[in-house]
C-alpha cells in the first residue's frame, strides 16, 4: 500500500498525547542557571547609565561588552544589536542579561537604566526611514485608466497580530566539549546557527543548534529564536554552565515580533461590463525598529497585492518603513494576507459600484491558465481560481443566502485568493538546499533541517520517501534536526517544506532506489554497509526571475482558495460572529489528508481571530495588552463549524503532485468576513473589526442590491 494520500499514523507516535514529548522547558541539564533579559522601557533613547540594584553575588551579568564577536543579529541587514549599546530604538529592547540558579532570586533582581529621550516615530506612513521599496509594473497605467469607464478607490488597513504559539519562546544553551549546544523551540536551526556564529566569534569553536519539540511557530519562531539563542549562549559562555531562558507569556507578547500592520490604497479602473483595465495599488508596511525580514514580507505582500485577477495595466508600489516599535516579522502568510484583504474587500466594493454580483465580477476577472500575473508570470494548468470559486459558491449556498440573509442583520461574504509556494523569485536558487537520506538497520533515515512544529513535517516527508523508495512507511525514520548532523535543507517557512524539501527527498529516494538495485535499504545496510546520498536543489531552467525589475516567475506555482463566511452582527453590541465557514482550497494534492485539513481549519481560525478580535493595542510604542486576558484569540466558543473541501489539481513540479499549503488558509478569512459584514449592511474597511469599529462604520444605505448570479 502506498503511504502518500493516506492519513497514516504519525511519526511522533503518541508522545504529544502522553506528555512524553520534550519541549524546551521540559529539558533539564545538571547545574542549569535560569536566564532573564532586562529590557528598555522607552521607545527611543540614549542610555546614559545602567545600575544594578542588587547584590551581584551568585549572578552572571552580561552586557554588550561581553560579546566576544560582533554585536548584531545576522539577518538581511545587520542593524539589530544583540544587546543595546548606547541607544535603544524600541520598548522591550534587550539591554542586559542576568542568570542565577534560583528563579525567585532572579526575578527579584532590579536594574535601573537612565535614558535621555530621543524623537519617536510611530506612524509608518510618516516615517523618514524606509527599509525597502518595491515597484511592480505591467502594461501602461495611463492607457488603462484612459479605457476605464468606472473608477473605484479605497483605503484598507490591517492590524498587527500576535502569534500566540501556545509554547512561548524558550532555549537552553549547554557548554560542551569544544563549544556550545543550543537546544530550543525554533523553526529554522540554520538561521539560528548563522546568527550565533558572528556573535560568539572565535571564542567558541563549535556551535550546534538542536530543535526540541516545538509548541507552534506560525513564523514567530522563524527569526526571533536567533535573539534568545544568542542571549542564552552569552550567559552560558560567561558562567560556564547551562543556561535556560524561557519567556513567560507577557514577555513573549511584549517583546517578540508580530504581523506587520499594513495600509493599502487601491485605485481601480474597469469597463462598464466589469473588466479590470487598470489597477494602481500602494502598500505601506510597518517594519518596526529594525529591518529583520521586512523586505521579504513586503515582497510577498506586493506580489500578491493585485489578487488572483487578470489586468493588463497594473502598478504596485510598496514600502516597508521604520517605526520605534518592536520589530515586526514573519507571520503565516508573510504579507500576503494583508494585501489580499485589501484586494478582496475592494472587489466587493467594486461589485457594489457596478451593481453586479461579487461572484460574477470575480468570475469575469479571475486568472485562468494562459493569463499572466502582475509580475508577468504566465500561468499553467495548475491554476484553479475559477474551480475553487465555483465549488465554494455551490457548497456554501452563497447565492441563496445572499438573498435570504438580506436585511436580517446577518450576511454572507466570500474571498478569492492564492498563495505562492516556496521562496519568492530566485530565493530557492540562492538557498541551494541540500537533503540527505541514509540506510539504517531497519530501513532509511531522512536527514533535513526542516522542523516539525505541528504541521506534520516528519510524517509527510516520511510518506514521500517511503513511496519513492518503495519501502513501507514504517521503515522510514526522520532524524532530529541538529545542525552538526543534518544538511542545510533551508528554513521551515514559505509553504516550502512539502513542495521543495519533499521534492528534493523524492529525487534523493529515487536515486537511492536505483543504487540499491532491488535490494531493500536494510538489507543493503546489513550486507554492504551504510549508504548515504545527498540531493541539492537545482534551478529549474524554465523559471525566470529578475530581482531588479520584479518581472518574471515569482513562484514555482500557486495554491488557490475561496472562503465563504456567514456572519451575524449583534444589533445591540455590534459584535460580529462567524456562524458558518466554508473553505475550498486547491494545493495540488494532499499528502496526508487529515493533517492537511488541520492546516486549513487551524489557519482559518487564526484568520478569523485576526479579522474580528485580535487587537494589539500599541501605547507609547509598546504592546499595552500583552496578556491572554486582554489579547483575545478564538476559543471553542468563537470558532464556527467549518466545511473544508480540498480540490485536487496535481502539480507536476511537486512531490506526488503537492504544492505548498501552510499559509494559504490565512489569506481568506478576514476579507470573507468583512465582505459578509458589508452584506449585513456595514461599510468596514479595517481589521480587527471590533464592535467599536462596526459601530463607527457608516451603514450602507440603500443596502447593496441583492442580485444573485
Amino acid at each position: 500500500m502506498t503511504a502518500v494520500g493516506q492519513s497514516v499514523a504519525r511519526k511522533e507516535g503518541l508522545g504529544k498525547a502522553t506528555g512524553e514529548a520534550k519541549y524546551a522547558d521540559d529539558l533539564t541539564f545538571p547545574g542549569t542557571l535560569h536566564g532573564r533579559t532586562i529590557r528598555s522601557t522607552v521607545a527611543h533613547a540614549r542610555i546614559t547609565g545602567v545600575r544594578l540594584d542588587f547584590d551581584p553575588a551568585g549572578f552572571t551579568v552580561v552586557d554588550h561588552r561581553d560579546i566576544p564577536g560582533s554585536n548584531h543579529i545576522a539577518l538581511i541587514e545587520h542593524d539589530q544589536p544583540c544587546l543595546a549599546a548606547g541607544e535603544v530604538r524600541h520598548v522591550a529592547e534587550p539591554i542586559l542579561l542576568l542568570a542565577h540558579e534560583d528563579r525567585e532570586a532572579l526575578r527579584g533582581a532590579t536594574v535601573h537604566v537612565d535614558y535621555e529621550p530621543l524623537p519617536v516615530v510611530t506612524d509608518p506612513e510618516a516615517s523618514p526611514t524606509t527599509f525597502k521599496e518595491i515597484l511592480i509594473e505591467k502594461g501602461s497605467l495611463d492607457k488603462g485608466f484612459a479605457k476605464a469607464e468606472v473608477l473605484v478607490e479605497g483605503t484598507y488597513r490591517t492590524g498587527s497580530q500576535e502569534h500566540v504559539y501556545l509554547e512561548p519562546n524558550g532555549v537552553i544553551a549547554v557548554p560542551e566539549a569544544g563549544g556550545i549546544a543550543l537546544y530550543g523551540s525554533l523553526q529554522c536551526p540554520f538561521y539560528v546557527l548563522k546568527a550565533l556564529k558572528p556573535v560568539l566569534g572565535a571564542a567558541v569553536a563549535n556551535v550546534r543548534v538542536v530543535q526540541t519539540e516545538t509548541g507552534g511557530g506560525f513564523g514567530g519562531k522563524e527569526e526571533y529564536p536567533s535573539v534568545i539563542a544568542a542571549h542564552a549562549c552569552l550567559l552560558a559562555l560567561k558562567s560556564g554552565r547551562p543556561v535556560k531562558i524561557v519567556y513567560d507569556r507577557e514577555e513573549d507578547m511584549w517583546a517578540t515580533t508580530k504581523r506587520h500592520p499594513c495600509v493599502v490604497r487601491h485605485r481601480t479602473g474597469l469597463t462598464r461590463d466589469g473588466r479590470l483595465v487598470a489597477m494602481d495599488v500602494d502598500v505601506v508596511m510597518d517594519g518596526g525598529a529594525y529591518c529583520t525580514l521586512s523586505p521579504v514580507v513586503l515582497s510577498r505582500g506586493v506580489i500578491h497585492a493585485a489578487g488572483p485577477y487578470r489586468c493588463a495595466n497594473t502598478r504596485i508600489r510598496g514600502r516597508a518603513t521604520m517605526t520605534h516599535t518592536p520589530p515586526n516579522g514573519a507571520f503565516r502568510g508573510f504579507g500576503a494576507p494583508q494585501t489580499q484583504f485589501a484586494m478582496e474587500v475592494h472587489m466587493d466594493r467594486v461589485a457594489e459600484r457596478l451593481g453586479v454580483d461579487p461572484v460574477k465580477l470575480r468570475l469575469k476577472n479571475a486568472l485562468k491558465p494562459g493569463d499572466t500575473t502582475a509580475t508577468g508570470q504566465k500561468l499553467g494548468d495548475d491554476t484553479s481560481a475559477v474551480a475553487v470559486l465555483r465549488a465554494a459558491v455551490k457548497k456554501s449556498g452563497y447565492n441563496r443566502k445572499r438573498v435570504s440573509l438580506k436585511g436580517t442583520g446577518a450576511g454572507i461574504g466570500l474571498a478569492l485568493f492564492y498563495h505562492g509556494s516556496g521562496f519568492t523569485g530566485s530565493g530557492e536558487v540562492m538557498l541551494a538546499s541540500t537533503v540527505a537520506l541514509e540506510t539504517t538497520a531497519t530501513g532509511a533515515r531522512i536527514l533535513v533541517a526542516n522542523t516539525e512544529i505541528g504541521q506534520g513535517t516528519r510524517t509527510m516527508l516520511a510518506q514521500i520517501v517511503a513511496d519513492a523508495l518503495g519501502v513501507p512507511y514504517e521503515q522510514v525514520e526522520v532524524a532530529q534536526p541538529d545542525t552538526s548532523k543534518v544538511p542545510d535543507s533551508g528554513p521551515t517557512v514559505a509553504s516550502r517544506t512539502c513542495m521543495v524539501v519533499g521534492g528534493l527527498l523524492e529525487k534523493c529516494a529515487i536515486a537511492m532506489r536505483a543504487r540499491l538495485g532491488g535490494m531493500s535499504p536494510s538489507a543493503w545496510h546489513a550486507n554492504r554497509g551504510p549508504l548515504r546520498l545527498e540531493q541539492r536543489y537545482e534551478a529549474a531552467a524554465t523559471r525566470q526571475w529578475d530581482d531588479a525589475t520584479y518581472r518574471g516567475d515569482a513562484y514555482a506555482t500557486f495554491a488557490w482558495g475561496c472562503d465563504v463566511a456567514e456572519v451575524s452582527v449583534d444589533p445591540v453590541t455590534y459584535a460580529a460572529r462567524v456562524v458558518k465557514f466554508t473553505a475550498v482550497q486547491e494545493f495540488g494534492r494532499p499528502i496526508h489528508p487529515a493533517m492537511a485539513r488541520g492546516q486549513i481549519e487551524g489557519g482559518s481560525a487564526q484568520g478569523i481571530g485576526w479579522a474580528l478580535m485580535e487587537h494589539v493595542v500599541l501605547k507609547d510604542g509598546a504592546m499595552h495588552n500583552a496578556q491572554l486576558t486582554n489579547y483575545i484569540i478564538p476559543t471553542t466558543l468563537d470558532t464556527p463549524p467549518m466545511d473544508v473541501i480540498m480540490l485536487e489539481n496535481p502539480f507536476g513540479g511537486g512531490p506526488f503532485g503537492a504544492k505548498g499549503l501552510g499559509e494559504l488558509p490565512i489569506d481568506g478569512p478576514a476579507p470573507a468576513i468583512v465582505n459578509a459584514i458589508r452584506h449585513a449592511g456595514l461599510d468596514v474597511r479595517s481589521i480587527p473589526a471590533l464592535p467599536e469599529v462596526l459601530h463607527a462604520s457608516p451603514p450602507l444605505d440603500p443596502p447593496p442590491p441583492a442580485r444573485a448570479g
Partner: protein, 147 residues
C-alpha cells in the same frame, strides 16, 4: 506535605505558595503538564484535582494538600482519548494536548458537541481551530455521539 499523584501517595517538600504546576513539573518530574500563560487563560496546565479539571498554574501548592491529583501521565499512555487525539490530528504541535485531554476526561464517553465546546472553553489551541479536537473527543470511544 502529602498528596496523591496519579494514584500514588507522595511526600513533597516545597514552599506553600509554589504553583502546583511547578510542583508537578519540578518536584515530581511530571513535565507532561504544560505552561502556556501562567495566568489561568490557556488551560495548557489543566490537571484533575479530586476529579475536577483545574488550571494548575493558579493553584498554590498548599491548597493541594491531601488532594488526589491526576496528570496526563496518569492516563497510562494508551487511553482512548490519547489514541484519538493523535489519530484525528487533534494534536498538531501538541503543547495544548495534555491540558485538552485532561479537560475532556471528566466528560466521559460520547459527549455531545455542545458539552465538549463548553468543557474546553477555557483551553486554547492555536493550531487546530478546534475542529479536529472535537472529532478526537467525540470518536475516542468508538462511534460519534449525535450532535
Amino acid at each position: 506535605m502529602r498528596l496523591t499523584v496519579n494514584g500514588t501517595p507522595v511526600e513533597v517538600d516545597a514552599p506553600p505558595m509554589k504553583r502546583l504546576l511547578d510542583v508537578l513539573r519540578e518536584d515530581c518530574s511530571l513535565t507532561g503538564t504544560k505552561e502556556g500563560c501562567g495566568e489561568g487563560e490557556c488551560g495548557a496546565c489543566t490537571v484533575l484535582v479530586d476529579g475536577v479539571a483545574v488550571a494548575s498554574c493558579l493553584v498554590p501548592f498548599a491548597q493541594a494538600a491531601g488532594a488526589s491529583i491526576t496528570t496526563i501521565e496518569g492516563l497510562g499512555g494508551n487511553h482512548p482519548l490519547q489514541v484519538a487525539f493523535m489519530r484525528e490530528v487533534g494534536a498538531q504541535c501538541g503543547i495544548c494536548t495534555p491540558g485538552m485531554i485532561m479537560a475532556a476526561l471528566p466528560l466521559g464517553p460520547k459527549p455531545s458537541l455542545a458539552k465538549v465546546k463548553d468543557a474546553l472553553a477555557g483551553n486554547l489551541c492555536r493550531c487546530t481551530g478546534y475542529e479536529a479536537i472535537y472529532r478526537a473527543i467525540r470518536s475516542a470511544w468508538g462511534e460519534q455521539a449525535p450532535t
